[in-house]
Assembly symmetry: C2
Homo-oligomer: 180 residues x 2
């Protein structure tokens, strides 16, 4: 089910992504999606392709990860008429939070969600721009578990398959529009 | 023109905003919009009210300020079928950038935009969640000026009128859905 139905659309999206060498550090090739977002018809295509996949599923909330995840998550929440829940970096959310740590290359950081962001048994879709090692998404899953809600799937625009992020997510289904 | 036409809608939005005292520091009452975003019909109402205002204007790109601005900006860009351009904090954008400094309480920080984010003479709408002192929006206006594009208006969900942000923005029109 992860094979895009419309190969030409995906190819068009891929061609608008810019490779930036040595960002954020030497040896990394960063996939820059800003040229894709700035073209109205391509930005729309991403959201519509995701909406096509999820329109018949029961989804109460879109859970989006700061900061690029907000871009895709908010447009999709609007399109699917669901609520929007932001997952933020430490000390950004003003009210009572749950936190989950995730590993950085050196040390760790944490992600937070408001304690009243979800009701138990709500069904949610997690969205981010890129699935890499799966570390952040895995921390987000943990947060959603604390709130008693159910992750029906993780959706991302780009999946870096060579980093095996899916494995880290265990049973949680993962969908990506573009794979490298 | 800044008077909301539909007062009941605005009242409903206002009631969903949570006051959080002493965030981010003692003495500040933070306007928390997460309860508003998490309710599908209210999130949708914000975007539709903004779309009503701008649907007949020529807008090429929505310019959204990290991070909460991304949420409103992306949904509105989808709704209005415009491109989406992120303004990010220092060192977050991977490619060549223009930077503009803005004052913090102690010291300063800077915002960045990709140098190819806009074509000269494009018409843009700047969007953020809250207009406070106008410092960040003013830095964003400066960036857009460097790219040769034209800001047709600044739109925000909440305007803290007692901080006089509008004055800092000079000739640039400002629209807000909710005023405190």
């Amino acid at each position: 089910m992860n094979k895009p139905v419309i190969g030409n659309d995906i190819e068009e999206l891929k061609q608008a992504i810019r490779d930036v060498p040595d960002f954020p550090k030497k040896g990394i090739i960063f996939k820059d999606i800003t040229p894709l977002l700035s073209q109205p018809e391509l930005f729309r295509k991403i959201i519509d392709l995701l909406a096509d996949r999820y329109r018949s599923r029961k989804i109460d909330k879109i859970i989006a990860i700061e900061a690029r995840g907000f871009i895709l998550g908010a447009a999709l929440a609007y399109r699917l008429r669901t609520g929007f829940v932001p997952i933020r970096k430490k000390n950004k959310l003003p009210w009572k939070v749950f936190s989950a740590a995730y590993a950085l290359e050196y040390g760790q950081d944490s992600l937070e969600v408001h304690q009243d962001a979800l009701q138990s048994h709500e069904k949610v879709l997690i969205i981010d721009d890129v699935l890499a090692t799966g570390g952040t998404v895995s921390a987000v899953s943990e947060l959603i578990g604390k709130l008693g809600a159910e992750v029906i799937e993780v959706a991302c625009l780009i999946e870096l398959t060579f980093l095996n992020g899916r494995e880290k997510l265990g049973q949680t289904p993962v969908f990506s529009l573009i794979q490298y």
